[in-house]
């Protein structure tokens, strides 16, 4: 049955939206992950008979396998991406390698128009379920703020008052106003951005100190990403040092380009450290709540402003 013109308009509108999203936010790294997962499933699913040439590829390591699988799928399924760059492959690998728990030390250098430069040391904890926790000492040094989240929501445990839980966007905007650029609070977010908005270059391998014992050194692939279209809120360069064996991101450096009168981050240095034993509730606000504090869910930034202490 032919479609009514109203329904055609609706479909055309949805199509142009989807095309615009693809045109402006191409997510080739996500495509690569999809293919890698698909190949993993094809490999493990006994119901699916693999062609002989794919069985041969099983002997390869997973990264080579994913890259080769991508090429095969491009041929068969007309997919629209390529993994043709060692730098890009390193970033993908770092994204997909997720040890159960990781702990990073972050040196944050921030510029304030009247105050000048301030450096603080924050802590970043990650797990393999895409959850994170940041301990931020606060720019005025008056006490730690705990920030955490998962792909759907963010939470904050301020110095005083209740813990606040809200959507990523709501809490993110509030954090931005407090000079904590929330898009960079998660290593995978940095790597995603790096793969999409930055031109990647492979630099010579470098050795970085091992987190378990600083006298040992880890051979790392060194990638430098330079932003394609500079924007004031994005770092101009992101550098990644990824363990050549495990693929785990050992170190990340983010550098922003700011004029002296501008407010904002100047440099972040994120380094993998030895992960301490963490309680089960570490990745939820309950793990950082003070006695008698409550957890409140906020729907809007205004609500968040009214509930969070003004000095944080």
């Amino acid at each position: 049955m032919p479609l009514a013109s109203e329904q055609k308009e609706q479909v055309n509108d949805a199509l142009i939206e989807s095309l615009l999203r693809e045109a402006f936010q191409p997510d080739s790294i996500h495509d690569a992950e999809l293919v890698a997962r698909l190949m993993e499933r094809l490999e493990n699913d006994v119901a699916v008979q693999l062609p002989e040439k794919l069985v041969w590829y099983r002997r390869r390591n997973w990264m080579g396998f994913a890259a080769t699988a991508a090429v095969i799928l491009v041929g068969i399924f007309f997919l629209n991406f390529s993994i043709n760059n060692a730098a890009y492959a390193t970033v993908i690998r770092s994204l997909t390698v997720t040890p159960a728990k990781r702990f990073y030390q972050i040196k944050m250098l921030q510029q304030f128009p009247l105050w000048g430069e301030r450096q603080i040391q924050a802590e970043l904890y990650l797990d393999d379920q895409d959850r994170f926790v940041v301990r931020h000492p606060g720019w005025a040094g008056i006490g730690p703020i705990w920030i955490g989240g998962n792909p759907e929501e963010r939470w904050i445990v301020p110095i005083r008052g209740p813990a606040l839980v809200g959507g990523e966007r709501t809490v993110g905007r509030w954090l931005d106003k407090k000079d904590i650029p929330s898009p960079y609070l998660h290593v995978s977010t940095i790597l995603h951005r790096m793969s999409r908005a930055y031109s990647l270059a492979m630099l010579p391998n470098e050795k970085v100190p091992a987190n378990e014992s600083p006298e040992q050194w880890i051979e790392c692939q060194h990638i430098r990403g330079t932003i394609k279209q500079p924007k004031s809120n994005l770092p101009v360069t992101i550098e990644l040092w990824a363990d050549t064996e495990s693929g785990v991101a050992q170190r990340l450096t983010l550098i922003w380009n700011r004029s002296p009168e501008e407010r904002g981050p100047l440099k972040w240095e994120i380094e993998l450290a030895q992960t301490p034993d963490l309680p089960d509730n570490w990745f939820s606000p309950e793990g950082h709540l003070r006695a008698n504090s409550q957890i409140m869910h906020v729907q809007s930034e205004t609500e968040l402003e009214s509930l969070a202490p003004a000095d944080q």
Binding site: Q10, V11, N12, A14, L20, F24, Q25, P26, R37, N80
Partner: protein, 159 residues
Amino acid sequence: MLSVFLRAAGCSEYLMDDVWQETMIVAWEKLDTFDRSRPFGPWLRGIATRVLLSNQRTSRRMTLIGDESALEYLSQELHRISQLSGDTLDEKLNALRDCVSRLSDQDRECIELRFQEDLMPAAISDQVGVALETIKKRLARAKLRLQECIELKLRTSTN
């Protein structure tokens, strides 16, 4: 192209990866039935349509844009888009990027903030300092102009 189809069909981001993967698995299994004299894209989207409709029956999170005929129309429109010049989707999307660059400054700003910066209309309204209703109108107008521009490019490329 499959992701563009799934998103336009109304597949939620939450289920997108699963539907994509399911479609590919079914396509893989049925590859022997594919008539190689016909274009591959519509065949793959036909499989995706069945996967989407099946998911809609079982998941509350899936609200599709319409029934099977709406999805078929969407697939046909995407097939037309695939006629744009360029070997890859990204190259074909250059036509759309070119259309965006031809929009008025106001409309282009709205489109870029919405789709490049991923801002919702309310956030665009805050950033631009213009009423929300005006932003919605600008977005709707810009999308219509983009459809017209793409249509023109399609006609030019097929003539």
